[in-house]
């Protein structure tokens, strides 16, 4: 176990190094010049060169990347080009909002996805099953911004139940979390359905029925706890999908998390912030996958870590 963990952590570090290198190369060769952005349009050539020198952007690529890595191992993600603050601090100040949204989104996903999945499995082959599975197809086919705007229009503009955007109270959290929850639920409901169908076929369920237990006891007491575990184990992988999607939802709802930070930075070519957010997202994806792999053997003893 310890050896496995050590090897996986080493792999994760290598992957993150790779991500940092590729992102750095991409941002290095990009045609947009951050120095011009900072200096503004009326800057003289001399000013531009001064800024370039100050930021170390006149050094060879390897030197620049080496410096970045040297800072990275000390937890220093560099300084934002346009806002005069440390990237690590900017991300740290935005992270709680993103984590809160992630928590809300995952709760919504599970609530919708697991309920629909169990219902579909119990009513397998009926109209309800087909409707729920069609719904799951639609949710995986809908872009985030359309669902965001639809929920905003219905629940904020027309019904006025929730604020149109922003951050601070529980009411602000509902719509963005529900958007991500609806979009992610299709995936869970399909998994939950097939897991439940498989468990309902198992011998121990027949035994439970034969003992004369009520249908509710069999489903809730015996089938559900067994069927739900493999689905719950997927939350780790879901974190990765979540990190990919926050840019849009946070921008539409004005949610001050790292997705919005990234989007603002992309528009202003604020490279240190883009680098920082990419690395933090990649870290979340890698840790999420690691978590999913570590949890798996506890849920299904047939799976061995190797």
């Amino acid at each position: 176990m310890a050896a496995y963990l050590a090897r996986r952590l080493l792999q994760s570090v290598l992957i993150l190094l790779g991500v940092s290198f590729i992102t750095y190369v991409l941002l290095y060769v990009l045609p947009a010049d951050p120095v011009r952005q900072i200096a503004g349009r009326s800057a003289t050539a001399e000013t531009v060169e001064n800024i370039r020198h100050e930021l170390g952007l006149d050094r060879p690529f390897i030197v620049q990347y080496g410096r970045y890595l040297a800072g990275l191992v000390q937890g220093d993600l560099g300084r934002s080009y346009l806002q005069k603050s440390q990237v690590a601090e900017l991300i740290a100040s935005r992270l709680p909002a993103t984590l809160l949204l992630m928590l809300g989104a995952i709760l919504c996903e599970l609530a919708i996805g697991l309920t629909f999945g169990v219902l579909a499995a119990l009513k397998r082959g009926t109209f309800l099953d087909q409707t729920l599975m069609m719904a799951s197809f639609i949710t995986v086919s809908a872009p985030q911004f359309v669902v965001s705007l639809l929920l905003l229009y219905v629940f904020a503009v027309k019904l006025g139940w929730f604020p149109i955007g922003g951050y601070g109270t529980f009411a602000h959290l509902v719509l963005p979390a529900l958007t991500l929850g609806i979009l992610g639920s299709g995936w869970y409901s399909r998994m939950m359905r097939s897991s439940m169908i498989e468990v309902l076929r198992a011998d121990f369920i027949r035994t439970a029925r034969a003992k004369g237990l009520t249908r509710a006891r069999v489903v809730l007491g015996h089938a559900l706890p067994n069927a739900i575990l493999p689905v719950i184990a997927m939350i780790g992988i879901d974190i990765g999908i979540f990190m990919g999607g926050i840019v849009v939802v946070e921008s539409v709802f004005g949610w001050p998390g790292i997705g919005q930070l990234a989007w603002q930075a992309i528009q202003r070519v604020d490279i240190p912030i883009i680098m920082g957010v990419t690395l933090v997202s990649a870290l979340a994806i890698v840790l999420g996958n690691l978590l999913a792999d570590l949890v798996a053997p506890f849920i299904d003893p047939r799976i061995k870590l190797k």
Binding site: V146, G244, I274
Partner: protein
């Protein structure tokens, strides 16, 4: 995997089995509808999609609601929304086919090479694929698209660059299991070259997988293009795309919701169509999935 002989005989059977599935038929019908709309756009669009009509706005300068003349209403510049959505279908389909085709090609090449040539070539390619899996794909795509001044083809390339990874993994797994099978060993003993083994013997077995992932991939591509265009870093106006129609009109979204939700519905329907067909194809083409509904 089915036998090679069964594979060759499959097309009619596949189509027939696909036709028996109601959801797949619905998906096919939607695809045919969108393709017809895109191809016939120059003839069936009631107006020029870029014509900013003087009578296309209210006296206050607001967009017109859907009525008999403007089927889907007009947008913020007084252009006919129905015509723009028809031409927008061209954009979605071109990007869907080109970007996805490119991603499929990269993914298949990487997967087949890594799966057949074990050793350092295979490990390097697969480590690189793992690395790409850890990338926040949408963030990367937005970043790339924002940096290069996006044209239709650049958007397609950016999408292909972030979308090949899944295909590569699946093809890798299948190729590496095929490579150890007896019939491949027999071919090698008979003196067949690497190229012949890869293209004549391994590739045909991968065709079902490539078809399934190719179909499902179009849906992902359509969604990604719409998202990039919605953020203003995808296909640039005045070229209509369903994503940039919403991008342009979102300031009016409270007073003229049709400008957001009609193109939105078009995106969902097209992505849904490819997902339905792809899912049915997976059931039909992959024997291990059969009977599991």
């Amino acid at each position: 995997m089915t036998d090679a002989t069964v594979d060759r005989a499959a097309p009619q059977g596949t189509l027939r089995r696909l036709m028996r599935r109601k959801l797949a038929l619905l998906g096919l019908a939607l695809i045919v509808l969108v393709v017809a709309g895109a191809v016939l756009a120059p003839w069936i669009a009631p107006f020029d999609p870029n014509d900013q009509m003087f009578d296309g706005l209210t006296i206050e300068g607001a967009p017109l609601a859907p009525d008999g003349r403007f089927l889907f209403g007009t947008d913020l510049l007084g252009r006919d929304l129905f015509s723009r959505i028809l031409y927008g279908a061209q954009t979605s389909l071109i990007i869907g086919v080109v970007a996805n085709g490119l991603a499929l090609l990269i993914g298949t090449l990487v997967g087949i090479t890594a799966g057949y040539f074990r050793g350092w070539v295979g490990s390097i390619l697969m480590r690189f694929t793992d690395l790409m899996m850890a990338f926040p794909a949408l963030l990367l795509a937005i970043c790339l698209a924002a940096i290069f001044k996006p044209s239709l083809w650049i958007v397609a390339m950016v999408i292909a660059l972030v979308n090949w990874v899944q295909t590569a993994r699946v093809i890798y797994t299948e190729t590496s299991s095929l490579a150890t099978r007896d019939f491949i060993a027999a071919e090698r003993t008979l003196g067949a070259g690497t190229g012949r083994i890869l293209f004549r013997h391994i590739l045909p077995h991968l065709v079902p997988t490539i078809i399934v992932w190719g179909t499902l991939g179009i849906s992902t591509t359509v969604l990604l293009e719409a998202t990039l265009s919605f953020l203003g870093v995808g296909v640039q106006p005045p070229t209509p795309s369903w994503g940039n129609i919403i991008f342009e009109n979102q300031t009016y979204f409270q007073s003229a919701p049709w400008l957001v939700f009609l193109p939105g519905a078009a995106i969902i329907l097209l992505a849904l169509a490819f997902n339905l067909v792809g899912d049915a194809l997976r059931d039909v083409l992959d024997p291990t999935q059969r009977g599991r509904d």
